[in-house]
């Protein structure tokens, strides 16, 4: 997409993510052609939508779509996708004969579908197991962020109504695609926290001046921008080199830096930011859950570090 096209697309997406969420946002995405745009300019489509979802605090089935298309799981609109449980990134299912062991999460859109597909390991192979949604015993997640609309699958065994089908795509690619999208959503979430904290710092007067005049406050906000730009740079690197390892780094950095942003912004917003009368809390909550999806900063980083210790070899630096 070129400059003008991109600008128009961004405007439409900004309007859609700000005015709708859940099923309504999904309908709007179909209408404005996000799924087609994804085929034409994957990076711009993912970065814009997920960044804006993060900024607005809205949700859609776009993450399900990315996971489904990367793995080549049946992507009928009427089929939901099972996501790994919090802080996990292996395929959410294991198939033994005609039995599926599954644990994980389902989005609000997925929970509405009559069937869901589960990426599962069967020996060394990756298969797609499709099961009736009602067989999973879905339970709406209240948790720290009920507005995200996730549903929990309590770990269970399900009888497969049909033979699972082989999957052509790779789970590694699905994880990388999901992580890049979630990293961008975390950055968007952080940007809103910074916007809210900045507005408060300029409005709130103490000792006869806006608290934005105090260096202790200014430096927290400056550190928040540094945190956001750090995550953006890492996401940029992941798109540039296309390596799943770099996407993992981007997700870890974005998760960690969103926590940094939440810490600083919550402190600047002080009392009012600790109430439900101000919007900040929704973004603090959202950042916590997004950090956990497809691996938290801590888990991804520990696994990465352990690999480095084992191989004693750093990945190559991003070339100029």
């Amino acid at each position: 997409m070129d400059g003008e096209e991109l600008e128009l697309f961004e405007r439409s997406l900004r309007h859609a993510t700000a005015s709708a969420t859940g099923a309504e946002l999904d309908a709007a995405l179909v209408e404005l052609g996000w799924h087609d745009a994804l085929e034409v300019d994957r990076r711009a489509s993912v970065a814009l939508l997920f960044g804006l979802q993060g900024e607005a605090g809205s949700t859609s089935a776009a993450l399900d779509h990315l996971v489904a298309t990367a793995t080549g799981l049946a992507a009928a609109a009427s089929t939901g996708v099972v996501l790994p449980a919090i802080d996990r990134w292996d395929p959410p299912g294991v198939v033994h004969g005609r039995t599926l062991q599954v644990a994980g999460l389902v989005s609000s859109a997925g929970a509405e579908c009559p069937e869901v597909v589960v990426a599962a390991t069967a020996g060394d192979a990756l298969v797609a197991a499709t099961v009736p949604t009602e067989s999973l015993g879905l339970r709406p997640v209240h948790g720290v962020d009920p507005w995200l609309g996730l549903h929990q699958i309590p770990a269970r065994e399900v009888a497969l109504p049909a033979e699972p089908t082989p999957v052509e795509g790779s789970w590694t690619d699905a994880v990388a695609a999901a992580r890049l999208a979630l990293a961008q959503q975390l950055v968007g979430t952080s940007r809103t926290m910074l916007r809210l904290a900045r507005e408060h710092a300029l409005d709130r007067v103490q000792f006869g001046q806006p608290i934005a005049g105090f260096q202790a406050v200014r430096h927290r906000l400056a550190e928040t921008l540094v945190a956001i730009e750090t995550a953006e740079a890492m996401i940029d690197a992941a798109w540039l080199d296309g390596d799943p390892g770099t996407a993992a780094m981007a997700k870890a950095v974005a998760g960690r830096e969103a926590r940094v942003a939440a810490k600083h912004c919550q402190q600047v917003l002080a009392g009012i930011g600790f109430t439900t009368e101000h919007d900040l809390h929704r973004f603090v909550r959202r950042a916590l859950v997004l950090n956990g999806l497809f691996g938290s900063a801590k888990s991804i980083t520990s696994a990465f570090g352990a690999e480095l210790v084992e191989s004693r070899q750093l990945p190559p630096l991003l070339p100029l």
Partner: protein, 376 residues
């Protein structure tokens, strides 16, 4: 020539001339040895044209993308041919000369710096003027066709080696603040200049105090117009905070790789190692973006303060990990490699101070990037 062609050609040249380019010393070398090595590498690279690409033709360059310069810096650093911080000083001073010196002056002088025939220094900070650059007081008085300079500078890197100095002086009244500053390009062998090197914590005489006692500078050595010195400084600082630091990611990458190779089993905390590596890669990604913006012709400004904060964070994170992983080497080791780890650890402490402290960078971010208004 595009960047891939440059990269391939330069890498081949570095391989072919490996013996000639190699330093004559083991480990870090003395400052004299480092400076001689830098001059040698610059001369060889310049004479083979690689040191000329990316610089304008009017100052002896061969034109082309500034990415060529970035790759040269990175490649000589990754191969451990030069001390990266000292080598990259031309990335701070040459662009300023090109932008502000009279064309004939720039044409004569810049090539000497690029070829390693000369070393230049940067006279900005003073005993009473650190973070508050606008308060500088080193006095310059116009006297016919000359300026007469009296005062003192400090933290002037490589002053004892330098043939020239880019100097900020107070030409206006003491109250004129940033409006009354004039930049001069002076010869360091002018009568009246005294250089007193200061030993740093990491054992180097890298910077000095410089005293000026009625030093005469010809008027054509002015950079920009009289009273325009603040613009010169504002033009220079973004380079010092970003593109001149580009090679440090390559340096830190090679040191972290070495740490992985020598760390005793069980000494590296995987979570910490993973985090440090991610921080370094994020700095690299940020820095790469800045290089590409400069290559596209975009002016560099306040956003480079983020690059500088990230460099300081990454460099200190890498060497904190070194200190935690190799405690004996860093504290009581007296072999060549231990000395190197210790020296680099100590030098990393300066990363959040030089080129504008991390606090000053945050002030700039708050004021210019977040538009929080004045803090005074």
């Amino acid at each position: 020539m595009d960047i891939d062609e440059y990269r391939a050609a330069f890498d081949a040249w570095l391989d072919d001339n490996r013996e000639q380019l190699a330093p004559a010393y083991e480990g870090k070398g003395t400052l004299d040895e480092q400076m001689a090595q830098i001059a040698k590498v610059k001369r060889l690279a310049f004479d083979a044209d690689f040191g000329r690409w990316g610089w304008p033709e009017r100052v002896g360059g061969l034109g082309g993308s500034t990415l060529f310069r970035a790759y040269l810096q990175e490649a000589v650093t990754a191969r451990d041919l030069v001390e990266p911080g000292l080598f990259s000083m031309q990335e701070v001073l040459a662009p300023t000369m090109i932008d502000f010196a009279a064309p004939e002056l720039a044409a004569t002088m810049v090539a000497r710096l690029l070829r390693g025939d000369e070393t230049w220094c940067q006279g900005f900070s003073e005993p009473g003027t650190g973070s508050n650059l606008g308060s500088l007081s080193c006095r310059s008085v116009r006297d016919g066709d000359t300026w007469r300079v009296t005062g003192q500078k400090v933290w002037t890197s490589l002053a004892q080696y330098a043939q020239r100095c880019v100097l900020l002086t107070r030409s206006g009244t003491p109250e004129s603040a940033h409006r009354g500053i004039t930049a001069l390009f002076l010869d360091m062998d002018s009568p009246g200049i005294t250089v007193r090197p200061i030993e740093t914590m990491h054992g180097s005489l890298e910077f000095s105090e410089v005293f000026f006692d009625d030093v005469v500078v010809p008027a054509e050595r002015m950079l920009g117009a009289e009273g325009q010195g603040w613009s010169v400084a504002m033009d220079l600082l973004p380079y010092e905070r970003s593109t001149a630091l580009w090679q440090r990611a390559a340096f830190l990458h090679s040191r972290l790789q070495r740490l992985l190779e020598v760390a005793p089993p069980g000494s590296l905390d995987p979570l910490k190692l993973g985090e440090v590596t991610q921080t370094l890669y994020a700095f690299r990604a940020r820095s790469r973006g800045t290089q590409h913006r400069m290559a596209s012709g975009a002016p560099l400004g306040s956003e480079t303060s983020i690059d500088k904060v990230l460099l300081a964070t990454a460099e200190q994170a890498v060497f904190d990990l070194v200190a935690d992983t190799l405690p004996a080497e860093v504290t009581v080791g007296d072999d060549v490699e231990s000395h190197l780890w210790r020296t680099e650890y100590l030098y990393s402490r300066a990363a959040s101070i030089y080129g504008g402290s991390s606090e000053i960078q945050r002030n700039i971010i708050a004021r210019r990037l977040l538009d929080l208004g004045s803090d005074r």
